[in-house]
């Protein structure tokens, strides 16, 4: 069984991909997974050569059978997402982008004219990169990431790792504490939570730490851009101490990091100022994994 190292953050924009891509650069014998399909950006830095791709299904969307619909208007009145429109010809249709798949219309329709229809919501890929095999996904416009999609890409990575005898799986997770994050953490061996020294950064760290605890998964904290607000960084360190989680390292702010990403370069490889901190985090994470 390969070991799964997951990088998440309670809040978006904390530097999760900066750290994951840098770890991907340093780590040997691993498969990289981008589980953050809502804002998939690892591929920009990994420059993958796609070897295999497949479409995947999202939530089923309501479909109204025009032959059975009598135009009673119940579904349109009930829909909380305003997803049901009437065409100029008086035909009831569902706007698939607005439909939230709640099935209320399906239950309410007295004519049983509404059924749920599978739709494709994106594609997932198996790719080769300079840094190892890479499993990632892309959503179609308006589609959203789901626990199902995260499970699928992680599952695929585990199959590949077993086939090829690869020891580690490195996962770039999504921000927040929702369904995709739950799916990302489940089954992980160690979770790195990236936090930034802001009020929202600390608050969201608290929430995501609680989520890791509920799974009883070991976790550690990385403070990114720590020197932008040393006072908040201190608060994060105090929180970590109180909760008994280790601060694996603190990455200084460096204007070079956003510049590197703009130039499609991995921050670790491009920016000298963050090298020590990233190496320390990498070393410690591998010990704890």
């Amino acid at each position: 069984m390969s070991k799964e190292l997951v990088i998440i953050s309670g809040k978006g924009g904390t530097g999760k991909t900066t750290l994951t891509s840098s770890l991907a650069y340093l780590m040997k014998d691993k498969i990289i997974v981008d589980a953050d399909a809502d804002a998939a950006n690892m591929y920009i830095l990994m420059k993958p050569k796609v070897k295999y791709s497949e479409k995947f299904k999202g939530n089923p969307k309501a479909y109204i059978d025009p032959d059975k619909c009598t135009g009673c208007d119940i579904c349109r009145k009930l829909c909380r997402f305003d997803a049901i429109d009437i065409t100029d010809d008086g035909v009831y249709v569902v706007d698939e982008i607005k439909c939230d798949s709640c099935r209320l219309c399906e239950i309410a329709c007295p004519e049983k004219a509404i059924t749920m229809k599978d739709v494709f919501s994106g594609e997932w890929y198996e790719s080769e990169t300079e840094y190892g095999l890479f499993v990632h996904a892309k959503l179609y416009p308006g589609a959203e990431n789901s626990g199902n999609l995260v499970t699928m890409v992680k599952h695929r990575a585990h199959i590949l790792s077993e086939e090829k005898g690869i020891e580690y799986i490195l996962v770039d997770g999504s921000p927040g504490i929702g369904c995709p994050v739950i799916s990302t953490i489940s089954g992980a061996n160690f979770v790195i939570i990236v936090a930034e020294p802001t009020p929202a950064g600390l608050h969201d760290l608290e929430r995501v730490k609680k989520l890791c605890d509920s799974f009883k998964v070991k976790s550690g904290v990385v403070v990114n851009k720590y020197d932008l607000n040393e006072e908040k960084t201190k608060q994060i360190e105090e929180f970590a101490k109180k909760e008994g989680i280790e601060v694996l390292g603190k990455i200084p702010f460096d204007k070079c990091v956003p510049d590197a990403i703009v130039n499609l370069e991995i921050p670790y490889a491009a920016c000298d100022r963050i090298k020590n901190a990233i190496e320390q985090i990498y070393k410690r994470a591998m010990e704890l994994l």
Partner: protein
Amino acid sequence: MKLMITAKGDNLNSTIDERYGRAEYFIFYDTESGDFEAIKNPFLNDQGGVGVSTAKFTIEKGVNAIISGSYGPNATDVLKVSNIELYKAVPGTVEENIKLFKEGKLQKF
């Protein structure tokens, strides 16, 4: 008593599935008779709410204790009020975990 074990396959030699809600198979095992029934997880490909659906399914099956790797927060909320005991599986097969459970060697989650 009736046990539920999350597994990657449909028999007692299958490996434990670390995941509760998105486990591949649920194995229901009767500790008195040694009989078991394997059911493919019907919620595996749902987009969300899988933990709660699985917890509901578990309760409907009249299970007394569950052996799985980890339990998510929403599933735990449902299971907590049902008097079902949650155990932490150890890496290995379903059979090995049942044996440890019978010997009282599995830790509660």
